[in-house]
């Protein structure tokens, strides 16, 4: 057979090729092998390469918030693999009690932003079990009694030039007249930078008498380092308006407007921007027609930034199930995950054109999924606190 050289003969770059393919838990353990491996696994270039490799793998994971009325605590957060089809759910240890979880951001480079009931904000990397508390989030300015402060919305993102993580807090104010919202005032926007652990206020640069954008987080899109929300420009006093996409660039920290795809008669408010996602490396919008609840359209922006490149790529349906406004839709690779109001995950496979019920392990009727995000592990450190393993009963 000839000589068999041992692994000590492998050059460093090939050794790294092997090591980037390891899951995070193995890499953490192998930090104990020797100093060279420890340093390698702390190295930014290796960490980025590792995450890039795992992001490109055809084995998508979801992070899901699950509620089980029969257990204590009732809520938990799990990660599961879509490819394993059904029952790979692994419960995760969180930085605080899951009962107090109010908001989960999208996963950026393996990091998730969480908001607690007490308004505490936390950045969490579940794979390496580290978290950091974001200091001093701005609270709203005291306002006159006829001004109402809406629940702030958040946008968590990454600036790839400065290799820094940022969190944007958008607080909207509106004047109230006889218990109804009269006028929406200028939103107050603050941005937090992880490297400096500090907040500063920024200007939206918009005339808010004409632009209406609450920055709702449930249907935003983070793509290419830019956040996208549905917004509305008021065209005239008769209530005519034009739907647009409001963008925030994490790098330049500026807001901009982008045109929506031409959905036909735009003033028809029956067509809603249901959710947005990334499909085959392009920004995609899932548009849902209130009049036809068993189908929806997927529009793709073939060339990012080129408004004319919006194309209606898919029409999904007719589905056996009816979509409701409360359903959460996620695009994961070439599959669509739908979380319905019963808390079940339904998978729609574009290729196979079939709907599959994705069940969690030991799923009795008392369990349901309340939220889900796509998730890829990373080694990125946000250390300032280590998550304690909860006692398993």
């Amino acid at each position: 057979m000839g000589r068999l050289r041992s692994y000590s003969y492998l050059p460093q770059d090939l050794l790294e090729e092997i090591l980037t393919r390891l899951p995070v838990i193995s890499i953490i353990r192998f930090k104990c092998v020797n100093k060279s491996w420890y340093n390698l696994f702390e190295n930014h270039t290796f960490i980025a390469k590792h995450h890039r490799h795992h992001s490109s793998q055809k084995n998508p994971s979801l992070l899901v918030e699950v509620e089980d009325s029969t257990t204590t605590p009732q809520r938990s957060v799990m990660s599961l693999h879509l490819a394993d089809g059904l029952d790979s759910g692994v419960s995760l240890d969180m930085p605080f009690i899951p009962e107090r979880l109010v908001y989960i951001s999208d996963c950026i480079n393996g990091i998730i932003c969480l908001r607690e009931l007490s308004s505490r904000l936390v950045l969490w990397n579940p794979a390496v079990r580290e978290y950091t508390v974001i200091s001093n989030p701005p609270s709203h300015v005291h306002s006159p009694s006829n001004v109402c402060y809406d629940y702030p919305t958040f946008a968590f993102g990454y600036d790839h030039i400065s290799n820094d993580y940022k969190l944007v807090q958008i607080g909207t104010y509106s004047t109230v007249l006889y218990d109804l919202i009269d006028q929406i005032l200028h939103p107050v926007v603050h941005i937090y930078t992880l490297s400096t652990d500090s907040w500063r206020q920024i200007d939206t640069g918009f005339d808010h008498s004409i632009l209406n954008f609450p920055g709702e987080c449930s249907n935003n899109l983070y793509f290419n380092g830019v956040y996208h929300w549905p917004g509305c420009i008021i065209l005239d006093k008769h209530g005519r308006h034009c739907e647009v996409i409001v963008c925030f660039d994490m790098r330049d920290e500026v807001f901009q407007i982008m045109k929506m795809p031409n959905l036909g008669d735009i003033s028809h408010i029956e067509k809603i921007w249901k959710t947005a996602a990334v499909l085959n490396d392009c920004a995609a919008l899932i548009i849902y027609d209130l009049k036809q609840t068993k189908q929806f359209d997927i529009w793709v922006m073939n060339e990012y930034g080129v408004e004319e490149s919006w194309t209606k790529k898919f029409v999904i349906g007719p589905l056996i199930v009816e979509l409701t406004l409360h359903d959460q839709l996620l695009l994961v690779d070439d599959k669509l995950a739908l979380i319905n109001d019963k808390g079940h995950i339904l998978l729609y496979d574009f290729g196979a054109q079939e709907i599959k019920h994705l069940q969690l392990r030991n799923l009795p009727g008392s369990v349901f999924v309340s939220q889900a995000i796509t998730y890829v592990e990373s080694l990125v450190s946000v250390a300032r606190g280590k998550v304690e393993a909860k006692k398993r009963g």
Binding site: L4, Y7, L14, R21, I28, C32
Partner: protein, 148 residues
């Protein structure tokens, strides 16, 4: 593109205007043993065949390829994988390199520190007490590790 190093050789030959009268040209591959080369050639042929059989269906190709890879792994010892990795790297055969690296990663991912050190011929160079501290810090990552 498979076997890019070999293609490069052909390209270079053409550039030098050597008439390839004979249909068999001998290409020297000093860094590749015959056994791993044979495996790589089989892998490559199989990959091309599966791709041709499932021309439009990318998913089927992936599935069949995965099945073939599982079968192949049963016949190859982890120790032989070094030679395969070095050969695939030398020949610039990206798919095979990815596959064999993934195979090694799979083979070691649930193993202990001691196993990994032996496997790669490494020794601990930590200061006294440093390793214990690290093991304690990362204790959670030692759960479910295979017995040696």
């Amino acid at each position: 593109m498979k076997f890019c190093a070999v293609k490069q050789y052909f390209d270079d030959e053409n550039n030098n205007n050597i008439t390839s009268g004979a249909s068999t040209t001998m290409i020297p591959l000093p860094n590749v043993e015959s056994h791993p080369l044979a495996i790589l050639i089989t892998y490559c042929k199989k990959h091309l065949k599966i791709k041709a059989n499932n021309a439009d269906n990318k998913k089927e190709t992936e599935k069949e390829m995965e099945q073939y890879e599982q079968e192949l792994l049963k016949k190859v010892m982890p120790q032989e994988l070094t030679e395969l990795i070095l050969a695939a790297n030398y020949l610039n055969f990206k798919e095979a390199l990815d596959f064999f690296c993934r195979a090694v990663a799979s083979a070691i991912q649930n193993k202990s520190i001691e196993f990994v050190r032996k496997f790669f011929g490494l020794e601990s160079d930590f200061e006294l007490g440093e390793e214990e501290k690290l093991r304690e810090e990362f204790a959670w990552s030692f759960e479910g590790v295979d017995e040696d």
